[in-house]
Symmetry: C2
Subunit: 248 residues, 2 copies
Amino acid sequence: MLSKAQIKYIQSLHQKKFRLEAKVFLAEGPKIAAEVLDRAPGRVRLVAALPAWITANASLLERVPAGRVSAVSEAELERISALVTPNEVLLVLEEKEDAWSLPPGSWCLALDAIQDPGNLGTIIRIADWFGVGYLLCSPTCAEWYNPKVIQATMGSFLRVHHAYTDLAAGIASSGRPVYAATLEGEPVTRLTRQPPGYILIGNESKGISPALRALATREVTIPRAGEAESLNAAIATGIILSHLVQPA
Amino acid sequence: MLSKAQIKYIQSLHQKKFRLEAKVFLAEGPKIAAEVLDRAPGRVRLVAALPAWITANASLLERVPAGRVSAVSEAELERISALVTPNEVLLVLEEKEDAWSLPPGSWCLALDAIQDPGNLGTIIRIADWFGVGYLLCSPTCAEWYNPKVIQATMGSFLRVHHAYTDLAAGIASSGRPVYAATLEGEPVTRLTRQPPGYILIGNESKGISPALRALATREVTIPRAGEAESLNAAIATGIILSHLVQPA
């Protein structure tokens, strides 16, 4: 059972303002919970779960200090959940300071104003699938710790390094290849296994900002044979990575 | 202004049961409305839009019989809309009987139990981008005319032929190549521009049913270099089409 204060605290974490202050965030559902407890038990501040889930996951929960696990009723879970359909377990997790510089020979996705949380989360999952472990976000991107982002990553948020930064400043002096996804570039289908560098993906409706596009060493395009006006930003990211980055 | 009966009628079309009975469905937002009025004005039963939208789109609306256009207030639009955020204009459209047989040399996507409406709509948009004009859905797929499907297609529902059918029966006797997306196939990255045929995409969590998988002449897989457990079904469809079907 949770105290009234705990319920209020968790509910406050649905809002960005309070997440930023507290430097914690929510992750929900049995799949993500199992991954977090397995890989990052030290980041768990609180587990609130249905009694049946707690019983079934006793060995995973041994890694978490006992005072941090609370059994809740379905009604309580509904009150604290940020999901439309609450799903057995909710975690409060600590943000992690993530200081990194891009290692030589690595790919890095750079996202310019990806504003839809579902798109950002799906892109993180795609990066993880293709082994792209580094992601730069412009300050205009959706927030990494938004519950909708975390859910859409399906756990991949644990494995992809990220930073929010002025992309142009971050990329300009790198000396690495910069591939920009545009509508006027070379067909990406002819560019398999390119030398690693940055891949720029632009905003859902406006594309890549001109200042950033000027830094591209190569523009790439997904050839179109039909009539759809555009592809969703996450779909485009998946297709581009599958050509440029593809594993052997 | 709409009558009370009209408002009730449109609200009833949020439900599959009433859509099936009436053989009409909803499409919303200025982008989709402009495409429908341009390409298929004969299918429009009703346009309900804010006065400003009607004024701005007078020439498009000339194609629709006058009695079928109603100016509505924002409050009225909110009452009839199936969207979380109503967007200027709502159309009631007639379903279209779509009798087709797959022409020689054509690609056809075959979807086995794609249950999420957003995924189905996104896949329709992807098919349209790659010029894949034919789509078979198992009866367990989301409903083509679900408002969430229509919205996610961004208008591509107008250009892709579809049918709901027993996929195995439809595919078995075709004599065409059948490519199945599985986790144990050949790397799709090595299979560019294949002979046209069916591409089987399976359910979001269960994949392709065994009876259907047995019909595959080739299984294809998106090579993974990282640790994500899976890719979203629409993302996988986009990547597979970009390799197998890619335009020159």
